[in-house]
């Protein structure tokens, strides 16, 4: 028992890939599971940990306020994305 550091890191990376909606959905599932009240303490704490991770994940994404606006331009035969300069 007990996760190795690498195992924990991989799990964290997987969480970053998880879509926001999915993460929120999983968090809702966890909350319902805990509210149903049937888990042994051991499992409850494990599930709680997972919930904390998901909450952090979602909160961090909502914290993001740096704007990234790009425009698609054709350069020769290919399409590239360039930062957008708003015209006045």
């Amino acid at each position: 028992m007990g996760e190795t550091r690498r195992g924990k890191q991989k799990k964290a990376e997987a969480k970053v890939e998880l879509g926001f909606e999915e993460a929120l959905g999983q968090l809702e599932g966890i909350v319902e599971e805990l509210e149903d009240g049937d888990l042994p303490l051991e499992e409850a704490l494990a599930v709680f940990e997972k919930g904390v991770g998901l909450t952090r994940n979602c909160a961090e994404r909502l914290e993001e306020t740096e704007r990234r606006i790009e425009v698609l331009v054709a350069e020769g035969e290919t399409l590239v994305e360039r930062p957008f300069e708003a015209e006045e």
């Binding site: 028992m1 007990g2 879509g19 926001f20 909606e21 929120l24 968090l27 809702e28 966890i30 909350v31 805990l34 509210e35 009240g37 888990l39 042994p40 303490l41 051991e42 409850a44 704490l45 599930v47 709680f48 940990e49 919930g51 904390v52 991770g53 909450t55 952090r56 979602c58 909160a59 961090e60 994404r61 909502l62 914290e63 993001e64 306020t65 740096e66 704007r67 990234r68 606006i69 790009e70 425009v71 698609l72 399409l79 994305e81 957008f84 708003a86 015209e87």
Partner: protein, 405 residues
Amino acid sequence: MSETTPRVYSVAEVLGGVNRMFQDRIGRLWIVGEIKDLRRPSSGHAYFTLVDEAGQLRAALFRGNARRMAFEPEEGMEVLAYGDLSVYEARGDLQLIVRQLEPRGLGALQQAFEQLRQRLAAEGLFEVARKQPLPARPRRIGVVTSASGAALRDVLEVTRRRCPGTPILIAPTRVQGPGAEDEISAALAAIATRDVDVVLLVRGGGSLEDLQPFNTEIVARAIAALRVPVISGVGHEVDVSIADLVADERAPTPSAAAEIAAPDDEVLYRELASLWLRLSQATLAHVAEARQRLVHSGDVLRAHAPSARLAAHRERWLAAHRALLRTGPRSVDRLRNRLGALSGRLDSLSPLAVLGRGYGLVRRHSDGAIVRDPADAPAGERLSVRVARAEIEAIVDTSRPLGDL
């Protein structure tokens, strides 16, 4: 041969004859031209001149016919006029007595719109079942519109307000004029190859001619072919274009389209905070329940060095507790603020706080099972006890059953 005296006609006879000729030989006809010198006196009749490059023709639209018209004739408008030619005898002027008037370009465009609409509807392109669901929180929003138009400014403003952290990708295109439909169609196809979850197809208000590219088959098929959902916001609220009908979602204006696509991050944050509170409370309830089953023993215990197993469990709890408090200073502060008066309880909801109040978590050393009954801890059994600031290794002396608390 004798000279025959030419027939001499009076003016009235000539004009009368001309009018009869118009009636018998020409009858009613359609004439196209531009409205000039439009006058609408209080009588309710309308007088104007129909002109083209080569000539002009006076026209009169009498009140009865004018009232039946669905649109307002305007100076400079190109129209199709249906009526009878006649000479107004008192002045000797040729004029068209107009029975019916139609805007020229508009009529053709409206007809084309209707025909295309029916054809695409028959193909099922407007079916609700075809429409793709929209993502609740897109990872990136695509916008197909003019790079210099007000529609783009509106979209950028709405998304800045609601979800500033969501990136935007713009595929610029002309939105009116000949050939614009090809550009729009190409822009749609291009942006769908990039990583966007939803596409906004928007442009500001304009005349039917201005909006024409959005009523073409090529744009309709381009929208239908996209595997990413499209929200259209073309023109003003009253304008319904073919693009609006094919799109997965339709909005009355570009701003409204952006509002549909963009989540309100404030609302999501409140939801998250609410879930966070429930998560903590539900976990606390579990801990409280476990607490009720703890054997609170003040009997003789002998302290031993903590076991590796217990240390691993403790690490887990501590890590969760740390994660609770150190999500990231800003995030936690915001979450705390959101919870308002309840924010002070955040720490108290941590399972470790329970231990701080004097309770211990008792486990069997051999398998880590939590001790609840006397049978779990017979005499001689080695126990690991976690209290607020210590790990205690103990051996059971005696254990006796207690009733439920």
